[in-house]
């Protein structure tokens, strides 16, 4: 027999929040800065996500893009990909949204302490990874070193360009980024090629290294292979954030299952050894 409920609230009811700022990241991606109407903090940890609700358009899972150490607001980096995200792109400061969360298993921060940390993002993966990068930036003494590697399809697809410049000039990080292709007409004079090229060029103490990888699904296998060539072959050395369709965020709707795991509650952050053997995980 199920246990009795203590109150009349529901895990499915979103809480209202207000849009403070909207900024363009690329022609397809925007950054939304929001605050809860309750005045409280969202309370997220780096790597967690929220379910964004718009009446009439249901919900979509979006990763939180800023660190909890940056208080008073939370940020969402959103690519226009469907009806809900399309409607989000029409919103103006002062408009309201519904939010449920934060949900999911965050990045395992304790495992990164005193390590040589590799933060590797591809495409939109930089948005969730930014929450961890900011966290590292705000706690510089916690880590031996932090290397940021980022890959995008083209110069115009690079997200958080100001942040990238900021991180490159920061003493806390080493930061490199690369694009797959750069059209001749572009004024981009940075590196071109796949992100694996940046990994191969790293020199780190592999026994004390820990990598965090967030990117589109096709990126994982080649990046993991490159990290292993670098010597990250032990347990708890490679952490991944997996993308799945999540309708509820709380392990009920079944859309995000990976064999016996629920990506929304057991993940989205996994150690490689937890999911590598599971069919369809990577």
């Amino acid at each position: 027999m199920p246990q009795p409920l203590n109150d009349s609230t529901s895990i499915y009811v979103p809480q209202p929040c207000t849009l403070l700022e909207v900024s363009d990241l690329t022609p397809q991606e925007k950054l939304f800065r929001l605050c809860l109407d309750s005045g409280g903090e969202l309370g997220q940890q780096p790597g967690q996500f929220v379910q964004v609700s718009i009446p009439g358009l249901t919900e979509a899972p979006i990763s939180v893009a800023n660190s909890p150490t940056r208080r008073g607001y939370f940020e969402l980096g959103v690519r226009k990909a469907g009806t809900l995200t399309g409607a989000m792109h029409q919103l103006q400061p002062g408009d309201t949204l519904g939010i449920r969360g934060p949900f999911g298993r965050p990045f395992q921060l304790a495992a990164l302490v005193d390590k040589e940390v590799l933060l590797i993002a591809g495409g939109c993966g930089l948005a969730p990874l930014r929450s961890l990068i900011q966290y590292c930036q705000d706690r510089p003494g916690d880590f031996k070193s932090v290397h940021i590697l980022y890959g995008a399809r083209s110069p115009q697809d690079l997200l958080f360009k100001e942040d990238l410049e900021n991180w490159q000039s920061s003493e806390t990080f080493s930061c490199r980024y690369i694009v797959d292709k750069s059209p001749g007409s572009s004024c981009y004079d940075g590196e071109t090629g796949l992100i694996t090229r940046l990994i191969g060029a790293l020199e780190i103490d592999s026994k004390n290294g820990c990598a965090v990888v967030v990117g589109p699904p096709p990126m994982y296998r080649p990046v993991i292979a490159e990290l292993r060539r670098l010597g990250l072959t032990g347990k708890r050395q490679i952490m991944l954030s997996l993308e799945r369709q999540m309708r509820c965020g709380i392990g009920k709707c079944g859309h995000c299952t990976i064999e016996h795991l629920y990506c929304c509650t057991d993940g989205p952050i996994f150690w490689l050894e937890e999911i590598e053997h599971l069919r369809g995980a990577l």
Binding site: S10, Y12, S53, P55, G251, G280
Partner: protein, 332 residues
């Protein structure tokens, strides 16, 4: 507490229950099948085939309003009827399915919406010689509040929990020896499909079923999703918003892992991008992933998916094919 009832006592008992609950009882439809119907004192179908409609639908309905959002954006949980359900006529298999979904929705964070309907509901088992042609249905091991056990001319009744004792208080004591006989018969009772399903489970766990098998099975699937919709432990849902004159109603609606969009992401990436992968998932999830996650298979052997499937690829049929084609015979 074991009691002895005759058939008119059952109507008396249900009459008292109906005062406090939305009582559903087995009724016979024109086509000869049975289903649970609202009770207003009518004749009850006490013996026969199990109803095709899954009992979990009373607590997790096909379209299930979760909340209302007013034009100002204020969201409030959808109301749940004050009177809880009482379901009469559940066999041990359906009760096992309800126990499975109870545990699933109670797992943290608990699904308050399911639990609001489920809490306070009364589950009444119907076992003993109450099966098709008065065949035997094994007794229930817990999972219900009351159990009525058909013994031929009379009935044994027992409460599954202390709080249900009062329903049976004024009936005469039942025969403990008769109960012991039926319990022994229950212990020896075997489901006709259990061996195949157990064997399929083991072969899947050992990765002995090749991808070509799933391609073959999937080629027979017509994507009707009847298997998922009939299954009492299928709990997957999608979410839909419906605009009304007074705002938005957000509902969850049963979904099917056999459909292409089930896992397709906004980016276009689809971890279940072929019918073969989706068909494998449907079977594998019940027989391997659920035991790994919850300690028991998601298939309770009710046979509903086999009855629903127009092309013969329900759980029993697929398990039988797996067992017959991939089992390695033990050496003599």
């Amino acid at each position: 507490m074991l009691k002895r009832l005759v058939e008119r006592d059952i109507y008396d008992l249900l009459g008292r229950i109906a005062d406090s609950y939305r009582l559903r009882v087995p009724g016979l439809l024109d086509d000869g099948t049975r289903t649970l119907l609202p009770w207003d004192g009518q004749q009850i179908s006490l013996f026969g085939e199990p109803p095709q409609r899954k009992p979990t639908a009373y607590f997790f309905p096909q379209t299930d309003p979760l909340l209302k959002i007013d034009p100002r954006g204020q969201a409030t949980p959808a109301a749940v009827a004050e009177k809880p359900f009482a379901l009469f006529g559940l066999d041990s298999i359906d009760l096992a399915a309800l126990a499975f979904t109870d545990r699933f929705f109670s797992n943290p964070p608990p699904d308050d919406h399911y639990l609001r309907r489920r809490n306070g509901a009364l589950l009444i088992g119907l076992t003993g010689y109450a099966g098709p042609s008065r065949g035997f249905l094994p007794l229930v091991k817990g999972n219900c509040d009351l159990e009525l056990i058909a013994c031929g001319e009379y009935w044994l009744a027992r409460a599954g929990c202390k709080s249900a004792d009062h329903w049976l208080a004024h009936y005469p004591p039942g025969d403990q020896e008769q109960l012991a006989v039926l319990q022994r018969e229950s212990a020896q009772w075997n489901h006709r499909a259990a061996v195949d399903v157990q064997q399929a489970m083991e072969l899947l766990r050992q990765d002995m079923v090749p991808d070509s098998f799933w391609e073959e099975i999937a080629s027979r699937c017509i994507l009707c999703s009847g298997c998922n919709l009939a299954c009492p432990t299928c709990t997957c849902f999608c979410v839909q918003d419906r605009q009304t004159a007074t705002g938005t109603v957000r509902s969850r609606v049963w979904d099917s892992c056999q459909l292409d969009a089930f896992m397709r992401e906004a980016s276009g990436h689809n971890p279940l991008g072929t019918e073969a992968l989706r068909t494998r998932r449907r079977i594998y999830h019940k027989l391997v992933a659920d035991p790994e996650r919850w300690g028991e298979p998601g298939c309770v052997l009710c046979g509903r998916c086999d009855r629903a499937c127009p092309t013969g690829i329900g759980m029993f049929a697929v398990a039988k094919e797996i067992a017959s084609r991939f089992a390695i015979s033990s050496p003599d």
